[in-house]
Symmetry: C2
Subunit: 386 residues, 2 copies
C-alpha cells in the first residue's frame, strides 16, 4: 500500500472514529478472560492497553497506524477503520517499540510471533468449531536425512482414523506463505475445523493433511550450497529467485517427509492420492514442484501464488497425463484494479480449455490474507479425490 493511500485511510479513520458504531464485542481470539481487542459490526478493531508512562501508543493493523488515546487510568484505547472479514496480523507501537498486544492470542506470520485478530465474517460458519465427529491435529518430529536434523510438522487425521483401521487415506501436503511456518495452517488457517466440518457434511472425502515448514531459504541444495534470495526485481512477485529455488524443500519433501508419512500413517501412497497446495510462497512452490514432479503429486492447489498456463503445463513432461486437478485462487482485492500481468481467471480457463481439470476461485472482498486461504482450502477440499 503506498503512503498516499495510507494517509488517506488514516484520515478517513479519524472521521470514521467520530461516528463509530458502539456495538463492540470481544474478539473470539482474545486471551482467556480478556475483553480486548474488540470488534464492532462495522468490522472496526478496538484495542486497549495499560501504558501509564507512555507518550505515544499506536495500533498497527492493515498497513495503517492508528493513534490511541490515553485515559486517566493510564489505559490507552483506539479504534481502526473497518477491516476486511477474517484474520489479520497486527501489533502495538508503544513509544516506538513494536510489541504484541498483551491481550491477544499470538500467531506466526510476518516473520514473527505476534498478535492476530479474527474479524467476524458472513460466511464464518465453515470454520466454526462444532459438535461434529472430530479429527486430530498431531504434532510430531521426524529425522530428515537430507537436512541431517530433526524437523517439526503437524498432521491432521480425520475423524474415524483410529477406529476404521482397514481404511487408507489420500494425503494433502499443505504449505504456508513467506514469513510463516507450519503453524499457520494448523492455527490461523483453521485446517482441522474446516475439514472436520466439510467431512461431517459429506462435502469432502476424509483425507490426511501434512503441514511442514517450507521456507525455502532454510534449506540447502543437494550439493550443500546455500539457497538465498537475490535483490528484488520487477515482476515475478518482485523477488529475484535463484534457479531451481525449491530444490532444498523439494528434496526434503520427497526424500524424507513423504516416506515418513507413508510409513507412519495409513496413506494411499501414489500420486493419484497425493496433493500439494499452498498459499503465496507455498503456492509458488506448488507450481514449481507440481510441474516437475507430476509422478509424485496428482492434485495441485495454488492459493494467491500464481497460475499454471496451458503452455507451462504442456511443456512439463508427463504432466498432462498425470495431473488430476489444478486449482487456482485469489482474494478479489488481489486481482482487481490495475494489476499487472495476465488475469489468473483467464489463464486458468485457458488451461481448462486445453483439456486440464482446472478450477478458478475468487474470495470476495479479501486480500492477500488468511480469509482468502481458509476459503480456498474450503473450495479445494471439495474437489479433491473426485
Amino acid at each position: 500500500m503506498n503512503k498516499f493511500i495510507c494517509a488517506l485511510l488514516s484520515a478517513l479513520c479519524i472521521v470514521a472514529n467520530a461516528q463509530v458504531k458502539e456495538d463492540f464485542v470481544p474478539s473470539p481470539d482474545n486471551q482467556p478472560g480478556k475483553l480486548y481487542p474488540m470488534v464492532n459490526s462495522e468490522r472496526c478493531v478496538r484495542v486497549k492497553v495499560k501504558a501509564p508512562d507512555a507518550k505515544s501508543v499506536k495500533l498497527d493493523i492493515g498497513g495503517v497506524k492508528y493513534d490511541l488515546t490515553k485515559g486517566e487510568d493510564g489505559f490507552w484505547t483506539g479504534t481502526s477503520a473497518p477491516q476486511d472479514e477474517g484474520f489479520h496480523y497486527y501489533q502495538l507501537n508503544i513509544d516506538g517499540a513494536e510489541v504484541p498486544d498483551p491481550s491477544s492470542l499470538y500467531y506466526y506470520g510476518c516473520s514473527r510471533w505476534g498478535s492476530g485478530i479474527d474479524v467476524p465474517a458472513a460466511d464464518q460458519d465453515f470454520y466454526q468449531l462444532k459438535n461434529v465427529p472430530q479429527g486430530e491435529i498431531r504434532e510430531l518430529y521426524y529425522w530428515s536425512e537430507y537436512n541431517k536434523a530433526m524437523r517439526h510438522c503437524y498432521v491432521y487425521t480425520p475423524a474415524g482414523y483410529d477406529s476404521e483401521l482397514d481404511r487408507r487415506y489420500p494425503v494433502l501436503y499443505l504449505q504456508h506463505g513467506g514469513g510463516e511456518s507450519e503453524h499457520g495452517w494448523a492455527q490461523q488457517g483453521k485446517t482441522g475445523i474446516i475439514l472436520d466440518n466439510l467431512i461431517a457434511e459429506g462435502k469432502a472425502l476424509p483425507f490426511i493433511v501434512v503441514m511442514d515448514n517450507g521456507t525455502w531459504t532454510n534449506f540447502k541444495r543437494a550439493d550443500g550450497s546455500e539457497l538465498k534470495m537475490g535483490p528484488r526485481k520487477p515482476g515475478s512477485f518482485g523477488m529475484n529467485l535463484p534457479e531451481d529455488w525449491t530444490e532444498g524443500f523439494r528434496n526434503t519433501l520427497i526424500q524424507d517427509l513423504i516416506p515418513m508419512i507413508d510409513a507412519r500413517f495409513r496413506t494411499i501412497a501414489d500420486k493419484d492420492h497425493r496433493a500439494l497446495a499452498g498459499l503465496s510462497m507455498g503456492g509458488m512452490e506448488t507450481k514449481e514442484i507440481g510441474l516437475r514432479r507430476p509422478d509424485v503429486f496428482g492434485w495441485l492447489g495454488i492459493f494467491s501464488g500464481g497460475v499454471i498456463s496451458a503452455a507451462e503445463a504442456d511443456a512439463a513432461a508427463d504432466f498432462k497425463q498425470s495431473n488430476k486437478l489444478v486449482f487456482v485462487s485469489y482474494g478479489s482485492r488481489e486481482v482487481g484494479g490495475n494489476r499487472q500481468g495476465p488475469d489468473p481467471k483467464q489463464v486458468t480457463e485457458s488451461l481448462a480449455a486445453a483439456g486440464y481439470n482446472a478450477h478458478y476461485y475468487v474470495s470476495n472482498l479479501t486480500a492477500h490474507e488468511w480469509q482468502s486461504w481458509r476459503r480456498s482450502l474450503y473450495q479445494f477440499a471439495q474437489l479433491l479425490w473426485k
Copy 2:
C-alpha cells in the same frame, strides 16, 4: 518473595552486572532468527528491544525488575541476576506497559500468554529433542455433556501407537497449575520429549498422557451453581477454597473426558492403569480427587501441591487397597528455610511406613517453577505401572 529480598537481589544484580561474564548465547527458545533473549554460563538473562522513544524499559523476571539501558541506535539492553536452571516466565515493561518480549516464544502461565525463557540446566539432556522413536502430541476437541460445551485437550501417544495395533496402554491424566492451562505440559513442560526419551531408554513403559484444562473456577457444580475462590486466608496455600472445590473438574474428568479417551484410544480402562498427577493446583486436585475416587485412579503424582498423610489415606474409603502409588515432589527452594507446616518428606515417609507405596522427590535448587515439574514427571514416569 518479599520486598526486602527483591530489593536486595536488585542491588546484587547491579553489582553482578558490573562483572557479568560475556559468554552470552541466544536462548534455545527464541523466535526463529532472533538473537535475543540470551543467556550466559552464569545463567543471567539478557534482553534487547527496540524502543527509540521510551523513557524507561525494564526486564521483569523472577519477581525482580531490572532496568535496561538505551543505546544510540534506540535499542535497550539489560541483564538479570543469575536465574535458576530451567524455564521462567518473564515480560518487558516499556514506559509502564507490561508486554511480551517481541523476540521470545510465548507460553500460557501467570494467567496470560507471554514470554518465557529456558535457562540451560546441567541435567537438560532428559528434555532435549533426540532422534529416538517419536510419539505424537495430538490436539483434539470433544463434547462435554457436563459443561454443555466443546472442550480442548492434548493427548500424547507414545511411539508405536499407530503400528502396534494389538497393544493397549495405561493413561496418565496430567494437570497444570493455577493461571496455566492444558498448553503447559504440552509446551513448556516438554512432556512429549521427556516421555519419548524415557521410553527409548527403556526407563519408562509406554503410556498415553492426557492434558486438559483443570482450572476449577471455570466449572460449575452439578447443580449449576458457581465455584469461586473466597478471599485469601492464612495456611492452605493462602487460598480460601470452597467446600469440594474440585466438583466441577472432577465431574468433567470422570463423566466426559475419561469415557471419551477410553472410547477413542486403545487404553486399558481400569484404575490399575490410570494415573492422575499435577503440579501446584493440579497437585491439590490430584490429592482431592485421588482420595475420593481410588476406584478411578490407582496412581497419584503430586508435584509442588501438598502431601497425602497416612491419616488422610487411612480415612479415605477403599484407598489403601486400591492405591498403587503416591508420588510427592517439591523444588528444593520450596521446602527449605523457615517454611511453615509439616515437612513433605517426613509426611511421605510416614505414608510409606504405614504400608503405602509412597515416593518422595526433591528437585535440586529449583523453585515453584517448571524445571521442578519436568524433573518430577521424569521421576514419576519411571515409577508408573511397575
